[in-house]
């Protein structure tokens, strides 16, 4: 009896012939990627609308005049210092997150815990800074639907008339609080998710499972939050 298999009966082993993940990634991780893709669209829509409104305005509040306080230290005259600190905190928290993922690959529970706790701490620090930044702007008179009075607004602009200054300051305030608020909400949920994962690591859930893949998945979300901040920082504080 011949053992030769006809071509059509041969089992195909290409990535897309079934039986295994063609992308070589666990499904939850793929879903996290696609969720982040949809979130990227949401943030882009917000940032591009901001760009379009700003582009069509004749004047716009100057970033180095609006953001020049370091809460608790300087009331004015220090442009970008505080937001620089916030950016640095978020980059560092991203680094501690990758270090947690890297420790997870080596199944080193102790190291994963250390790095996860540091990530959560830096997350809270960022949220604290954001709260200070918001309250500072709020005390100056900026909020959804309200701007500082005409006299004070002059300080934030170079040029423009009273009418255009008021109009664009309002657009600026609405966009700033909406976009940084939406980002801050992501940071907040990220911190909560990180805490849940840290507790699970402490309980040994992933040690029993034999893989720290969940740390990688929340890691993706956390890096995405950092990624969005990179853009928010550029378009609100630098450009």
């Amino acid at each position: 009896m011949s053992t030769a298999v006809s071509q059509i009966d041969e089992i195909k082993t290409t990535p897309w012939s079934g039986g295994r993940s063609p992308f070589n990634v666990e499904y939850g991780k793929i879903m996290m990627w696609f969720f982040l893709l949809s979130d990227a669209f949401t943030f882009s829509s917000l940032l591009i609308s901001y760009g379009a409104l700003r582009f069509s305005a004749s004047v716009w509040p100057a970033a180095d005049k609006v953001f020049q306080s370091v809460p608790g230290l300087y009331d004015s005259g220090k442009p970008l210092v505080f937001v620089g600190l916030m950016t640095f905190i978020l980059i560092v928290s991203s680094v501690t997150m990758v270090l947690a993922v890297e420790a997870g690959h080596r199944n080193s529970k102790k190291e994963v815990i250390t790095w996860m706790i540091l990530t959560v701490v830096f997350g809270f620090m960022f949220l604290g800074c954001q709260a200070l930044e918001w309250s500072h702007l709020h005390h100056e008179g900026f909020w959804w639907g309200s701007t500082p009075n005409a006299e004070k607004l002059k300080e934030f602009f170079t040029g423009g008339t009273e009418v255009t200054r008021h109009l664009t300051a309002q657009e600026f305030a609405n966009l700033f609080f909406t976009i940084t608020g939406f980002h801050g909400f992501h940071v907040f949920t990220g911190v909560i998710i990180n805490i849940i994962i840290t507790v699970n690591v402490l309980l040994g859930t992933y040690e029993k499972r034999g893989s720290y893949l969940m740390v990688e998945k929340v890691g993706l979300y956390w890096h995405f939050v950092d990624l969005v901040w990179v853009f928010v920082f550029t378009f609100f504080y630098l450009v």
Partner: protein, 114 residues
Amino acid sequence: MSSDSKEVHHEEGDHQTMTKGRILKVAGILTFITAIEFIIALWMVPSGTLPIQYANPVYIVLTLFKAFYIVAFFMHLKFEKMGLALSIIVPILFIIGLILVLTNESHHWITLRG
């Protein structure tokens, strides 16, 4: 269950991954790029060395560099299968479309605002 986790480990062993050294290197690059942005914003633009209309494109290019390093290395996309990377990157191109459409639209708003 045990065969599942075994497979995951096998997969991870298969491709190149992030080592501590590489993580710190990428972190260094991100900090360095941010430092350049600060130097431009705090010294080069105020002193007039680099006019703001040239500084803005520089900021955007530097931001895209940072985005690349975060997505490729921190989010590990560089070491994933090409198919996965493409399924994430190609839809992002739609954003360029939205930028073009709204840039065109905002030209029209300028005349509306008078």
